[in-house]
C-alpha cells in the first residue's frame, strides 16, 4: 500500500527517470545497431575472423557491469566524463554487440544457399545481393537480436545510477542506501515494466519490418 501511495505521489519523477533510463538504452543500442549489423555482415566473409569477433563479444558480456563502469572511470576522466551518461552509453553499446553481431551473422549465413546461387547467377553484385535479398530475409532475426540487447540492457542501465547516469536505478540505489523499500520496489517494478513494454514494442516493430512474403 505504501509503495502504491509513493508511486502515486511521485509518478512524475518516476516518469522523468524512466525517460532518462530509456534515453541511455535507446542511444546506446541505436549506436550498437550501426556498428553491430555491419560487423555481423562483414564477418560472414571469413569464418575464422567471425569466430574471433564473436568470442571477443562474448567475453565483453561476461564483464560485470559495475566492473566495466569502474574500468572506464580513469580512461574517460581524461575528457572529464569519468562518470555520468557517457560511460553508461558506452557500456551498453559494448554489451549490445554480442546479440546484434551474433544474430546478424547467423541470419546472413543461414540465408538459403539456393537463393544466393540464384542471385549470383542472375548477375547481382555482392552489394545488390545484400541489400535486396540477404538483409530483407535476415531482418526478423536481426531484430530479435536488437530486442535481446534492449531488454538485457534496461537492466544494466539501472546499475548505471551508481556512476551518476540517472535513470530508474536512482530509485533503487536510494532505496537501498536509505533502507526505503518504497523507493526500492517502485524502482524495480518500473524497470521491469519498462523492459516488458520495450520488448513488446520491438516485437511489433519486428513484425512490421518482416517482409510480407516471409510472414507465416
Amino acid at each position: 500500500m505504501e509503495v502504491l501511495s509513493f508511486i502515486a505521489a511521485n509518478w512524475l519523477v518516476i516518469l522523468g527517470l524512466a525517460g532518462e533510463h530509456l534515453s541511455i538504452v535507446v542511444v546506446a543500442v541505436g549506436l550498437a545497431i550501426l556498428t553491430g549489423v555491419p560487423i555481423g555482415i562483414a564477418i560472414t566473409q571469413n569464418k575464422r575472423v567471425a569466430n574471433v569477433i564473436l568470442y571477443i563479444a562474448s567475453i565483453i558480456v561476461t564483464i560485470p557491469s559495475i566492473a566495466l563502469f569502474g574500468l572506464m572511470i580513469p580512461v574517460l576522466s581524461k575528457i572529464g566524463q569519468g562518470i555520468g551518461w557517457l560511460p553508461a552509453v558506452i557500456a551498453i553499446l559494448l554489451y549490445s554487440q554480442l546479440p546484434i553481431i551474433r544474430n546478424t551473422y547467423t541470419a546472413i549465413t543461414n540465408v538459403d544457399p539456393a537463393l544466393r546461387e540464384a542471385a549470383i547467377g542472375m548477375g547481382m553484385t555482392p552489394m545488390q545481393r545484400l541489400m535486396r535479398l540477404e538483409i530483407p530475409v535476415a531482418l526478423p532475426v536481426i531484430m530479435a537480436g536488437v530486442r535481446t540487447a534492449v531488454v538485457m540492457n534496461i537492466g544494466v542501465a539501472a546499475i548505471a545510477a551508481y556512476i551518476g547516469a540517472g535513470g530508474l536505478g536512482v530509485l533503487i540505489a536510494r532505496g537501498i542506501s536509505q533502507t526505503d523499500p518504497r523507493q526500492l520496489i517502485a524502482g524495480a517494478v518500473a524497470v521491469s515494466i519498462l523492459a516488458i513494454a520495450a520488448d513488446w514494442g520491438l516485437l511489433k516493430l519486428q513484425k512490421r519490418l518482416t517482409p510480407a512474403g516471409l510472414k507465416r
Binding site: L115, A119, G123, M124, Q128, V137, G213
Partner: protein, 382 residues
C-alpha cells in the same frame, strides 16, 4: 550458339586434385536444347556452371554467339544468361512481379516496361497475371513456383539459358506438364539452352542433342535418336538402358508414321460401294466416318462379303482412337491396352486423320536404325 573449347576444371583439394571437367569440347547450335546427361559426379553441372562462371574454369574457352566470354566481366555475363536451378530460388521477400523484374531492373529497364514484361510472361505460362503478380512465392504451389522460376530467367530475353535440373523437384505428373509447356514456349522463343538432367527420359523428350558425361568427359554427343539407336560404347548403352528401343518410341509421333491414305467410308455408303473401295486399296478394313469426318467405326472385307444394304448395319465400334500428335509410345500403349493391331488417328478437332498399325511402328523404328551411324556425330567429341 554456345561453344566450349577444351573447357577444364580441376578442383584442388587437400586429398589431391579432382578433374571435374576434362577438355570438354562441344557446340550447341542457335535455338537448340542440349541436355548434359550423366550419373551424379560426372561433371555435367560443373560444365554448366562454368558457362556463367559460378564455377571459374581452370582452362579452356567459352563462346556465346561467337564471342569469347572471357572478355566480359562476371556481372555483365550473367545478366545476359538466363539461369534456372532445381531449388527454384524465388526470393521470398519479393512478390512474383518483383521476382520476374529482378534482371530487367538490374539492366536498368524502365519500371513500366519491366512490369508489362512480367505480366506478359505470366500469361505465357498460363498463370493469370492479375491474380499472381502481387502474390508471394510461398503462396504458390511447387509447379507454379518453377514456372515463375523459368520465366524469371526469360525476363530480359537472354539469347542463352542455363538450366540445372529445372524440373527435378516437381512431381512426375506436373513435370510432364511443365516439360510440354516449356517445349511449346521454346518452339517460339528459340533460345539456345544448356540443360542438365540425370533422367534419360527427360533428356530424350527435351533435347535436340544429348551430351553424355562420365568422369568429366563427354562419352557421346549426338541427337537423342542417334544415342538410343547407336550408343557409341558400353557405358552409353548401359546408361540409356536396355529398353532404349522403347524409349525411341517417344521420339516419333503418329503423324510421321500413320497411313493417311487408308480407305474410309461413311455410314450411309452402300456395302457394295464400300467393298469396291476396299478392293481398290488392298486393305482388309475401312474406317467409317460420320458426317463431320469423325471416325466412328470400322468395317472389314470379310464382313462385307455377300452382304447388302448400307455400311451402318455392319459397322463395328472402334476400340479407341489416338490423337495424330501423340508420340508412338502413347500409340503403342493404346494398342496394347485394347489388344488391337491398328488404331484410327484424329486431328485436334477430332476429325479422322489416318490409320496407324503395329507394322507401321516397327518399320519406322527400323528405318531410323538403318540411318547412317555417324550422321549426327560430333567431330569435337573425344
Amino acid at each position: 550458339m554456345i561453344r566450349l573449347e577444351d573447357l577444364t576444371k580441376i578442383f584442388r583439394t587437400p586429398s589431391g586434385d579432382i578433374v571435374a571437367a576434362d577438355r570438354v569440347n562441344m557446340e550447341v547450335p542457335e535455338g537448340e536444347i542440349c541436355i548434359l546427361l550423366g550419373p551424379s559426379g560426372c561433371g555435367k553441372t560443373t560444365a554448366l556452371k562454368m558457362i556463367n562462371r559460378l564455377i571459374p574454369p581452370t582452362s579452356g574457352k567459352i563462346f556465346i554467339g561467337g564471342k569469347d566470354t572471357s572478355q566480359l566481366n562476371d556481372i555483365e555475363l550473367r545478366r545476359n544468361i538466363g539461369y534456372v536451378i532445381q531449388q527454384i530460388g524465388l526470393f521470398p521477400n519479393m512478390t512474383i512481379e518483383e521476382n520476374i523484374c529482378v534482371v530487367p531492373r538490374l539492366l536498368q529497364w524502365d519500371i513500366k516496361r519491366a512490369k508489362t514484361r512480367a505480366a506478359e510472361l505470366l500469361d505465357l505460362v498460363g498463370l493469370d497475371a492479375r491474380q499472381y503478380l502481387k502474390r508471394y512465392p510461398k503462396e504458390l504451389s511447387g509447379g507454379q513456383q518453377q514456372r515463375v522460376g523459368v520465366i524469371r530467367a526469360l525476363a530480359a530475353d537472354p539469347p542463352v539459358m542455363l538450366m540445372d535440373e529445372p524440373f527435378g523437384a516437381i512431381d512426375p505428373i506436373n513435370r510432364e506438364i511443365i516439360q510440354d509447356e516449356f517445349l511449346k514456349m521454346q518452339s517460339e522463343l528459340k533460345k539456345t539452352i544448356m540443360f542438365v538432367s540425370h533422367d534419360i527420359d527427360e533428356a530424350v523428350k527435351m533435347g535436340d542433342k544429348i551430351a553424355i558425361f562420365r568422369a568429366g568427359k563427354i562419352e557421346q554427343y549426338a541427337s537423342p535418336d542417334q544415342i538410343l539407336a547407336h550408343p557409341e560404347n558400353a557405358f552409353v548403352a548401359d546408361f540409356v538402358g536396355t529398353d532404349r528401343t522403347l524409349k525411341r518410341l517417344r521420339l516419333l509421333t503418329a503423324e510421321e508414321v500413320a497411313d493417311r491414305n487408308a480407305p474410309i467410308t461413311s455410314r450411309s455408303t452402300k456395302v457394295e460401294d464400300a467393298r469396291q473401295v476396299l478392293a481398290a486399296s488392298k486393305a482388309r478394313f475401312a474406317v467409317v466416318i460420320d458426317g463431320e469426318n469423325r471416325p466412328v467405326g470400322f468395317i472389314t472385307a470379310d464382313e462385307m462379303r455377300g452382304a447388302s444394304g448400307t455400311v451402318r448395319e455392319l459397322a463395328n465400334r472402334l476400340p479407341a482412337t489416338v490423337p495424330i500428335r501423340a508420340d508412338l509410345r502413347a500409340v503403342v500403349s493404346e494398342m496394347f491396352a485394347h489388344d488391337t493391331m491398328w488404331l484410327a488417328c484424329t486431328d485436334d478437332n477430332g476429325r479422322y486423320a489416318g490409320v496407324i498399325s503395329q507394322p507401321d511402328v516397327t518399320t519406322a523404328l527400323r528405318a531410323t536404325y538403318a540411318s547412317a551411324p555417324d550422321a549426327a556425330h560430333d567431330p569435337g567429341a573425344p
